[in-house]
């Protein structure tokens, strides 16, 4: 029971991290595109605001695809050609996000090993 909710949690976080990488990739590819506005994944902010709607224990629905991608409010940081991508910010976000993804993978791997060994030992 506890294992399932942890696995669901990891799965959700991994889905968010993968989506975030897509958004960052799009921002980096369009760093020089006139009129392009940088986007971001606001999962954590929305999580803090929403009451958690669980379909299964610990499982958080991603909802429709678009709901977690928002345009960054650039304020005065827009370049003369209308582009608002801050390359330094994107590269930093990508590093952080990449590390989170790899950490989750590490955690998932050790969880799977525990489950696998308990299945094997259970038969002896």
């Amino acid at each position: 029971m506890i294992e399932t909710s942890i696995m669901n949690f990891i799965e959700t976080r991994l889905t968010v991290a993968a989506r975030r990488q897509q958004v960052i990739s799009a921002n980096i590819a369009n760093v020089d595109t006139p009129g392009y506005r940088a986007q971001e994944v606001t999962f954590e902010k929305q999580l803090a605001r929403l009451a958690l709607t669980n379909t299964a224990t610990g499982h958080i629905s991603m909802g429709s695809d678009a709901s977690f991608v928002r345009t960054i409010d650039a304020g005065t940081e827009v370049k003369p050609n209308g582009n608002s991508v801050d390359l330094d910010h994107e590269l930093t976000e990508m590093t952080t996000n990449g590390l989170e993804y790899l950490t989750l993978m590490q955690f998932l791997q050790s969880k799977l090993r525990t489950i696998r060994s308990s299945i094997m030992d259970g038969g002896s």
Partner: protein
């Protein structure tokens, strides 16, 4: 898997920046070209970037969000005037002894080249990060 899609996005970024570099180096190489095949001095060129949707993605078909890549939609001439220089002895001088030089500012072009290089590197870094993430995911299955 959405991560593989992200690789394609940055691949378009690399291609677009490479085209920008090609145009910038052509501008630099021809900064003093007073005579071209079409007649007249070399005219500076620019690339025009535009965000590109990947029409085939499932998310786009469902009406959801999909990441966009980039493409060069045109290579356009820079309309700023040529630089006039009084050199009556020059073979390409006009009736009044003025030679028209290309509208290329070497300093600006070098800066353009440096920016294109940085953007290209950023796309390359992204692909490297994504590759590591995918490899790690495959490791789990082993």
């Amino acid at each position: 898997m959405s991560l593989l899609n992200a690789i394609d996005i940055n691949a378009t970024g690399m291609k677009a920046q490479r085209q920008r570099v090609e145009v910038a180096t052509s501008n630099l190489a021809n900064a003093r070209t007073t005579r071209t095949v079409e007649g007249g001095p070399y005219r500076r060129q620019d690339v025009v970037f535009r965000a590109k949707s990947f029409a085939g993605t499932l998310a786009a078909a469902r009406g959801g969000w999909a990441p966009r890549g980039v493409e060069v939609v045109a290579v356009v001439d820079d309309p700023t005037p040529f630089l006039e220089s009084y050199e009556p002895g020059h073979p390409d001088a006009d009736g009044e002894g003025y030679v028209s030089y290309p509208n290329v500012n070497v300093m600006k072009e070098m800066a353009n080249l440096a920016n294109a290089s940085r953007s290209y590197q950023a796309n390359l870094s992204a692909m490297s990060v994504i590759k590591t993430m995918i490899q790690r995911t495959l490791d789990i299955a082993r």
